[in-house]
Structure formats: structure tokens, C-alpha cells
Amino acid sequence: MNIELINICKSFAGKLVLQDISFQEEVHSIAVIGPSGGGKSTLLRVIGGLLNPDSGEIKIDGIKIDFNEKALQLYRRNIGFVFQAKGLFEHLTGMENMMLPLIHSFGMNKYDAEKAGDDLLKRFGLSDEKNKYPYQLSGGQQQRIAIARAIAVKPKLLLLDEPTSALDPEYTAEVLDMLGELQNEGLKTIIVTHEMGFAKNACEKVMFLVNNQIIESGKSNEIFNAPKSPELMAFLNKILEWKV
């Protein structure tokens, strides 16, 4: 999938968050890394059609995204989005969370939706959790159901906003395992993450975002083994300092 960002700008209440972001890549899997407050989540929301940029264009496979609400509703149905935490509807069980988009965004009938939901939950070992409400699930289980829900609609692209930041290390591993498996099957993903191991080993490409701009991007092994910009070197030094 070809993703092209052209001069994307976004500010909140006068504070610039994205400054002239331009980028074009053939996406299989990209990790977006960088310090907090650098604009990573905002960029992901813009790509996912959840936030409109103040200016600039996005083209997916050469087709320009139309930022009017009706068109965006259709666009969002083809994009999966996973939030940092609390990404499930709190008043619905795991299974109902799976079924809601299938039925009400995609017009699937209840029987097919239930079957599709069942299959995915079974596949990821979540069958025991299907009748539980989010407050009865661990953070890792919630996140895996959220991912399962996002891929149930067979999205063209899956976006993940720090899906493991709110999790214990043990749960982080189970979520990353699931993601790695999906990527291997050819699911296109963009993930904002602080898990450098995952960015380096599981993602094909890396985008480094700092101070509202893309400072460096490219193949992940090159980026991690031979960072060019001083910002990235400093960032990597800092976060790898306490790694075992």
C-alpha cells in the first residue's frame, strides 16, 4: 500500500503539533517512534481519518482522501484503529464489541457477525472472554480483543496508537506476539510505539518523529544500526540506556 502525506499541518489552540509533514512510502509495516509530545498520536489520527489536518493532503494508493464527514465515515470503515487503552465499548461484552462494527458499519447479519467474531476470538485464545465486560478483562485481553475487532472488518490498513504502553511487560508480549503474527500474514500496519525491539525486529520501516517533524525515516535495521541525525542518536542512546 502506498501512503503519501503532503505538507500535513495541524495545531491545537495555537500550538503547532504537526509541521509540514511530508512522506511517501510503500507501506508494509511502519513503526512511528519518537519522544512524547512529538506529534505521533496526532499524525496517526490524521491518517486514520479521526482528525482533520489544518492543511495538507493524504493519498492512499494514489487516491486523495476527502476530508468531509460523510466520506470520512466510509474511509474509516476500511481502516482499523487500536487505541492506547480502554479501546472497547464499556457497556458491551467482548463478543458484542466484536459484532457491533460488523453489523452496524458493515451491514452484516447477526448470524454471520457472530460467527466471524467467534472465529477470531477462538483463533487468539479469547473464547473464554467473549461474554465478559471490559472491566472484567485484563489490559492485555482488552487490547487483544480491540485488535481482533479492528481486523474483523478486514481493514486495508491497521493503525495502532501505543497499544502496549498501558500494559505490564507480560501482557505487552502477548499483544506484540499477536501483532507480529498478523503482520506476517500480510496485514498492513502503522504502529506508534515505545517498544524499540518490536520496531526494530517486526516492523519493516521506521519513522522518527520529533518536535512536530519527521527527522528520519527508512528501513528499520538501517535506522537502528546506523542513525544519521543527532536527534535520533540522542533518542536511541537515552532509551536504550537501561535495556538489559
Partner: protein, 261 residues
């Protein structure tokens, strides 16, 4: 485990405690009645049972009518309070402030004799329901507004991300979550409506209180009359609180959303 079990009251404990409370209450009442030498005879109310029944039904009709209309007013003004158009927001906030800041009795006189007369609302039952709805609507507005504000913004973002239309978001996300949160407060408000409807007697709406006033003017048995009517109100509000308990359990998280799917 034993500690947990110890915290649960035994059936015997429950019965004894219940009896104790009942004895204290009844004893206190009996002592008070004895000390002023009052002799209660509720059979004096028997000849009026037809009128009492009609008043009782009228109170229910007015309360249910007001509940429906005030829910409508309350929901509209709750949304209106956060409207982007400043004039609408001010209007709704002013309404809530003024209504909540003045006594119902004053509002009944004001709306019935000034506004009602000016706009030709002659039917005192319609007027009564409207006035009560305007009053209770302000409180319901605050309940709904609080409920809406308590919903985590991310729930809407999820709805957006999965491509739900705004109407479906309202139907499958906002309303079910809102309802489960505000149901207890709404039930309390409904009990208030039932009690507040008694004030409509001042514009001669023949509901329970007005009925008992008329009966009192006839039989002069004030004490029996008002104790009995208090009991009738309590039966109504107690039923509401029982029903709300059932609804609360059903709507609180565990409630089945299958019917929405």
C-alpha cells in the same frame, strides 16, 4: 473467608434488627399520639373512598405525564446547555438556574395566573402537567448533562473509528451508557415529581392532596386524612424505588445489549 462471612448479616440478625426499628418507630408514634390525647379513627375516610381513588389516579396521571414531558424538556435543555450557538446555551442555562432557584409554589402561581392566562391555557390539568414538567425538567436537565459529561470521550472516538454514523453512535453507544448511569437519579426525580404534584392543589387540580383538602373541609378529620394521604404517597414513591432497583440491576453493566444488536 470467615471474615467475609462474618460481615454478612444472618437472617436472625436481619429479623431482630427490623423488629427493633419497627418497635422504635411505632412506639414513638404511639407515644406522641397518646400524649396529646388523640384518637384516630380511619373509618371516617370510608365514605370518601371513591373520591380518594379518583384523586390517587389523578396524581399518577399527572406524575407520569410530567415525567414524560420533563424528560423531553430536560434532554433538550441538557444538550442545549452545551450548544455552540451562545444564545441557545445561555437560554438553557438561564432556564435551569431560574427554575432551580425559585420555589415551585411561586412558579405555579406565576405560570398559571400570568403566563397561562396570557396564552389562553385554560385547562388546569394540562397547565398543571406543563408547570410541573417545566419545574422538574430543570433538574432532569442537570442529571442528563452530568450523565453525558461522565461518558469517557474515547467511547465516541471508538465509535468514530469503527465508522458508526452519528445517529448509530447515539443509539448504540451514548444512550445505553447514559441510561445506565442516570437511571438511579431519574428514579429519585420521579419520586420527587409524585410528591411535588401535591402543590398543584393550589390551582385546584383535583389530585390526591386537593381531594383530601376537600374531604377535610367536609369531615374535619385532619389527622386521619393527612396520615392516610401520606401513606398513599409513600406507596407510590416506594413502588418507584422498587422498580428502579430492578431496572438498575438490569442496566448496570451486566445488562444484555443483545436486543440492540
Amino acid at each position: 473467608m470467615t471474615e467475609l462471612e462474618n460481615k454478612k448479616p444472618t437472617t436472625l440478625n436481619k429479623i431482630l434488627s427490623g423488629l427493633f426499628v419497627a418497635t422504635i418507630l411505632v412506639g414513638f408514634l404511639w407515644l406522641s399520639i397518646r400524649s396529646i390525647g388523640l384518637e384516630l379513627d380511619f373509618s371516617t375516610l370510608l365514605p370518601y373512598k371513591q373520591r380518594l381513588w379518583q384523586g390517587f389516579v389523578m396524581t399518577i396521571i399527572i406524575s407520569v405525564g410530567s415525567l414524560i414531558v420533563s424528560l423531553f424538556i430536560g434532554s433538550i435543555t441538557a444538550i442545549g446547555q452545551n450548544a455552540r450557538i451562545l444564545a441557545i446555551s445561555y437560554l438553557c442555562k438561564t432556564y435551569v438556574q431560574i427554575i432551580r432557584g425559585t420555589p415551585l409554589l411561586v412558579q405555579i402561581y406565576f405560570f398559571y395566573y400570568i403566563i397561562g392566562t396570557a396564552w389562553g391555557i385554560d385547562n388546569r390539568y394540562v397547565a398543571g402537567i406543563l408547570i410541573l414538567s417545566i419545574f422538574e425538567g430543570a433538574y432532569i436537565s442537570e442529571i442528563v448533562r452530568g450523565g453525558l459529561e461522565s461518558i469517557d470521550h474515547q467511547q465516541y472516538e471508538i465509535a468514530k473509528a469503527i465508522g458508526l454514523t452519528p445517529i448509530k453512535t447515539l443509539q448504540f453507544v451514548t444512550l445505553p451508557i447514559l441510561l445506565s448511569r442516570i437511571l438511579p437519579a431519574l428514579a429519585g426525580q420521579f419520586a420527587s415529581i409524585i410528591k411535588d404534584s401535591s402543590l398543584l392543589s393550589v390551582i385546584a387540580v383535583i389530585e390526591l392532596t386537593q381531594t383530601i383538602q376537600e374531604i377535610s373541609a367536609d369531615n374535619f378529620r385532619m389527622f386521619e386524612n393527612y396520615i392516610f394521604v401520606g401513606l398513599l404517597y409513600f406507596i407510590l414513591t416506594f413502588s418507584v424505588s422498587m422498580i428502579s432497583g430492578v431496572l438498575e440491576r438490569r442496566y448496570n453493566h451486566e445488562y444484555r445489549t443483545n436486543k440492540y444488536l
